[in-house]
């Protein structure tokens, strides 16, 4: 088991958002977390990544056999947990190159590997730029500054490719993307799928899942997973919306 979430409860500003969430992710699996606005989707992503604004009030999370909640955000990242942000942050004056070389070397240190110098890093990055069909000047530009919405999301995928994480959490990566950008992002993700790498795709709409086929689909509502299934569950949601499932859950 790569990730095991048990009865996770979390709050922000004293408001309970996650109310006992369970989730298990095996290596190589792709899980989609779907749900209406305010269900706690982004909270789940943030809590797993270790954002300080959220307070975990109960439950346990095991990542690769370790207590995840005990680790600082950078330690989680170094151990292979990657978050693709809903709103990737701009860092003026810091080039993608410096940013990612620093990040890659932090990961390498954790894995007991020698740091990459500028030349090695350039070569390594070029490979990934080609793999993802990104603009060649990507490395020279400041982190996300002057990037379009689509470019920012793709830059996150590029970072994912460089850092080679074990678990990728994608927080509403599809929000604000037009269909072309969506396809590009999905192609990037698909290029990075492997037997060892798992994904948690958090999304409101089913359309991203047409491109990134999940093995499991979960419906998140009111801080809990109320229904799980295969890809067909996503199709069902597309057809009927969340109301029916929510109603069933409330009646039960």
């Amino acid at each position: 088991m790569l990730l095991k979430v048990e009865n996770l409860q979390a709050e922000i500003e004293e408001k309970q958002i996650l109310k006992g969430l369970n989730l298990e992710v095996k290596p190589g699996e792709v899980h989609a977390i779907m749900g209406p606005n305010g269900a706690g989707k982004s909270t789940l992503a943030s809590v797993l990544a270790g954002r300080e604004d959220y307070e975990v009030t109960g439950g346990e999370v095991e990542f690769n056999g370790e207590d995840l909640l005990d680790l600082d955000p950078e330690e989680r990242a170094r151990k292979g947990l990657f978050l693709a942000f809903q709103y990737p942050v701009e860092i003026p004056g810091v080039s993608n190159k410096l940013f990612m070389q620093t990040a890659v070397n932090a990961m390498r240190e954790e894995r007991g590997l020698a740091p990459l110098d500028m030349f090695d890093f350039d070569e390594y990055a070029k490979e990934k730029i080609e793999l993802l069909d990104m603009r060649a000047d990507l490395l020279e530009r400041s982190v996300n500054v002057g990037f379009s919405g689509g470019e920012k999301k793709r830059n996150d995928i590029f970072q994912m490719a460089l850092l080679e994480p074990k678990l990728c959490i994608m927080d509403e990566t599809d929000s604000g993307l037009d269909i072309d950008a969506l396809r590009q992002v999905a192609n990037g993700v698909n290029a990075l799928r492997s037997d060892e790498r798992s994904f948690i795709v958090v999304t409101h709409y089913q359309r991203l899942l047409d491109y990134i086929k999940p093995d499991h689909v979960h419906v998140l509502y009111d801080g809990r997973i109320i229904k799980s299934g295969g890809f067909e569950l996503a199709l069902e949601l597309e057809e009927n919306g969340y109301d029916e499932i929510v109603q069933q859950y409330k009646n039960a």
Binding site: E52, D53, E74, I91, G93, V94, F99, T102, A106, L163
Partner: protein, 503 residues
Amino acid sequence: MAEANQMLDLTRQGQVESEYEEINEILKKKFNYREGFETRTQVETFEKGINEEVVRAISAKKNEPEWMLEFRLKAFRHWEKMREPHWAKAKYEPLDYQDYSYYSAPECGSCGGACSTEEGGEPEIDPEVAKAFAELGVPIAGDDANVAVDAIFDSISVSTTKREELAKYGIIFCSFSEAVQDHPELVQKYLGTVVPYHDNYFAALNSAVASDGTFVYIPENVRCPIDLSTYFRINEAKTGQFERTILIAEKGSYVSYLEGCSAPVRDTYQLHAAVVEVIVHEDAEVKYSTVQNWYPGDEDCEGGILNFVTKRGICEGKNSKLSWTQAETGSAITWKYPSCILKGDNSIGEFYSVALTNRRQQADTGTKMIHIGKNTRSTIISKGLSAGKSDNTYRGEVKIMPSAEGARNFTQCDSMLIGDQCGAHTFPYIEVENSTAQIEHEATTSRIGEDQLFYCQQRGISEQDAISMIVNGFCKEVFSELPLEFAQEAEELLAISLEGSVG
């Protein structure tokens, strides 16, 4: 550290959780001032206090000619009638000028400091002083090929390297005191022409008690082959340092001049009131770079250096150029506006500045660009970084005189806040008296936010590395103007000065 922990607990109890709690917590960590050591050596220090007798005694100590003493006395009498200015955005109690000593020098054996004027070659440097400079990484033995150094310890210059080599080009590079002895005609011609003794309170004080400083003269059409540099060190407690630097670039010449400074850790304010005058003639260019790392004081900036400096240059001839580049990280209070008087037609003035304040440091710094000649151009790039509980102010004036046909100015002032208890202020004054002038002014304020830090952390980058990466990115435009070794030093200094904020 115990205190810091206590404070932390109190905040927790009080449930006062701000968005910047974590940054503020890091900011409380102990600050590390690497240059804070003290040198113990035999010194001759004047009794505390200032009066006409003291001014005369300083002059006598330096064997000065009558005209220099007259200059001092005129300035002193004027200073006595002036009031300490408090218009800067910095709070401090009025200073007790009688509580400072106005002359201090390491004794070199029998001759008691006056030996530099005696015949018989180079005086020996006090080994303790030499050790201090070695520790600071200042090459006073002249073994660094790329730079000539004038090393100033408290009130006197202890060593000036590579003078013979420079003399071959006709370049004069010596201490101010020596210049008064050896090149009186040049000193008399330029002293007080750019910064008159009555210019302001601290300039007047400096003119009265000027200790030492550097004198640079670059003859016509000479391109100075190496960087010239001065390193200022204040060692004695309760001593003021009042250096006077004059730099003259004759027609068609070029020089790059650097200055650095530091002081030991003390528990009372130390005063540093320098005056720098730069004269740039036709077609000449001067690059003047400063890395200022005076002791900023303790947690509350008690005991730090009060850095009240008047730096001004005149682009006298046409097509002349003067660039000021400064990285200001030290001092409890900085009050400093390196300025350019653009008198010659087509002359160019530049000001590139990074000012970092942390803890309770206060910096009020900027520039003045006075456009007199036709088609004169000036560029101002100022980057202010405030962390801790500090205040960082940019104050600048761009003045276009009626004669300055076609003058242009570009100003960019960027401020960055680190944490939520610091302040950034911008006071740009623009006065245009010629309608053909073009003035551009841009200003931004940003904050290193939790969002940026979390983004970096999520990529495996520690909080400290993230802050220094963001800060260096912010300052890049200015650092690229500094000479190479200096740029590196400035970057390192920034990292150390942020240690209080970065951990």
